[in-house]
């Protein structure tokens, strides 16, 4: 059997793909401070280095996780310290256009337009992210397929369940093939099966992308993350592998799993004691 078209082999690797990276870490923060409102320092003197892989950002409510992620997404500007992403300093004057093109971001409150179909919304996001016009249809289709919504792509967003809307949020974050992927509470609203599928996707992405996932579910971290960042009151408490986190906890600490015990052991610092929660 023959096809009408002849195939010509062309190199799929461009000069940009072969260029060596000019930075050691995708995300490098030194003494980073971010003020929220008039007084409160939500991130207060953070030193953090993140490379390729899946990094789980854990911490109690109000620890500053969302503020940190919004700063990394260049939505908020640092108040003090230095922040370098993909080798480019963040926070100075300038639009960070080139940097933003290489970032994928799922905000905690993922807002969308109800009357748009999934495809239209992801297409619109691809346009906002300046994906080259010729690549948009393929990039949108790939992103929608990766989150398993190919069969619902032409349905309006208002007809989708909460878990599906969340997956559209993940698809729009992936549409520009980001080098840094920032996901704020991506597993909220996903059922157990979807959560398993999502962890697989994370592991797949983590092979060549710097993924930062904020979550308060310790089991997400155990299953999908290569690295744990424990964050409390704007400061880094711990950074290491899930096994190291588990090793920090002993039988005397609160929790149902080794990771939870490690988590409560590290947060049980006497001067962090406040309230009953």
């Amino acid at each position: 059997m023959t096809t009408g078209r002849e195939h010509h082999m062309t190199s799929a690797v461009t000069a940009a793909d072969l260029a060596p990276t000019a930075y050691a870490w995708e995300i490098e923060a030194t003494g980073l401070k971010v003020r929220v409102g008039r007084k409160r320092m939500a991130v207060d003197g953070l030193d953090l280095r993140l490379g390729t892989g899946v990094h789980g950002l854990l911490g109690p409510n109000g620890a500053g996780k969302t503020t940190l992620i919004r700063t990394l997404a260049t939505v908020l500007r640092p108040t003090g310290g230095t922040l370098e992403m993909l080798g480019e300093p963040v926070g100075g004057p300038g639009e960070h256009r080139a940097l933003r093109r290489r970032i994928g971001y799922l905000p905690q409150e993922f807002g969308y337009y109800k009357r748009f179909t999934v495809r239209e919304f992801v297409e619109y996001m691809a346009w906002l992210k300046e994906v080259p016009k010729a690549d948009v249809p393929a990039a949108v289709q790939r992103a929608v397929e990766r989150v398993g919504l190919a069969d619902r792509a032409d349905e309006r967003m208002k007809a989708l369940s909460g878990g599906m809307v969340r997956r559209v949020g993940i698809a729009q974050a992936l549409v520009n093939d980001p080098a840094v992927l920032l996901l704020d509470e991506p597993t909220v609203g996903l059922d157990p099966a979807q959560r398993l599928r999502f962890r697989e996707l994370l592991q797949e992405l983590g092979t060549d992308t710097c993924v930062l996932v904020s979550t308060h579910l310790v089991e997400d971290v155990a299953a999908a993350c290569t690295d744990v960042v424990l964050f409390a009151e704007g400061r880094l408490v711990f950074q290491g592998t899930p096994d190291e986190l588990a090793a920090a906890g002993g039988p005397e600490h609160v929790g149902d799993s080794p990771l939870e015990r490690g988590y409560s052991a590290l947060l049980q610092n006497p001067d962090r004691e406040r309230g009953s929660w």
């Binding site: 002849e6 933003r100 337009y113 748009f116 239209e120 300046e130």
Partner: protein, 275 residues
């Protein structure tokens, strides 16, 4: 056979399963077949003539595939209409639609009041409201509270002055034609409403670069109410600011606002403008 194509011996050997060929010959012929239609045709002729096992396998695969290949996906109804609709958000977000509708409704209401000639006597309502109308739409275009996707927009590379200007242009594109019709119907000079209207829009953007577009819009609407609407209502005649001798001042304000926007163009890519 020419040197560019596989020999008949190799093609026949490949059709019979490649067992009689050296491994490098199999690789070479496979790579060649991928790129060469002539040799694929020859291979299929050999298979059809002399290798019934492969021929029947190919037929089975084809009979399974064919029904699926002949079905072309039906074009969704309204797909073409949606094609241009899907480009609209590049100019205006759905969040702006109700605000634009309100601006148009207020304009038409002012027109009706002017034509009926009630209340304020010689004051034109269209003239009185023209400058603040586009400001309403501009405010909605960059509002954190009104636009659900504002956080995503704020983190996108395209966020910045050109997106602000696109949305402002779409607001003016709706409001100005409506005002043009109203101005023509009530006999107000075009420059008399167009200059204050543009000056207010430019001032909103200029101030918006500092305090956020929505805040700037609210502040300017209040200023407008205090400086123009209140004296007009109190005196029962058109305020000095709206008469033809005020036009150079409006032109100056427009130029000033535009200048500030251009000078501070970098400021529009940060969140402040979205508050």
């Amino acid at each position: 056979m020419s040197g560019e194509h596989a020999s008949q011996r190799i093609i026949e050997g490949y059709a019979h399963g490649g067992t009689g060929l050296a491994a490098d010959e199999v690789w070479a012929v496979e790579a060649h077949l991928e790129a060469c239609r002539v040799c694929r045709d020859r291979l299929s002729a050999v298979v059809a003539a002399g290798v019934p096992a492969v021929a029947s396998l190919v037929d089975t695969v084809w009979s399974g595939l064919e029904p699926r290949l002949t079905v072309t996906p039906a074009m969704r109804r309204g797909r073409l209409r949606r094609a241009w609709l899907s480009r609209l958000p590049r100019w205006a977000t759905p969040a702006m639609v109700p605000w634009l509708a309100m601006a148009v409704a207020v304009t038409l209401l002012a027109l009706v009041l002017d034509l009926v000639g009630t209340g304020t006597g010689r004051v034109s309502m269209v003239l009185l409201f023209a400058p603040v109308l586009p400001v309403l739409g501009v405010a909605a275009s960059w509002s954190r509270g009104l636009d659900p996707a504002y956080e995503l927009t704020a983190s996108a590379p395209r966020a910045g002055l050109d997106l602000v200007l696109r949305r402002t242009a779409s607001v003016l594109g709706v409001v100005v034609p409506v005002l043009l019709v109203c101005g023509w119907a009530t006999g107000v000079m075009v420059a008399q409403w167009l200059l204050p209207c543009l000056a207010f829009t430019a001032a909103t953007l200029a101030l918006g670069g500092v305090v956020g577009v929505t805040r700037a819009a609210v502040a300017l609407a209040v200023v407008w109410a205090v400086v123009v609407v209140a004296p007009t209502a109190a005196a029962g005649r058109t305020a000095v600011t709206l008469r033809t001798d005020g036009l150079p001042v409006w032109a100056l304000l427009l130029a000033l606002g535009t200048g500030v926007v251009i000078a501070r163009r970098g400021a529009y890519s940060v969140l402040r403008t979205h508050r």
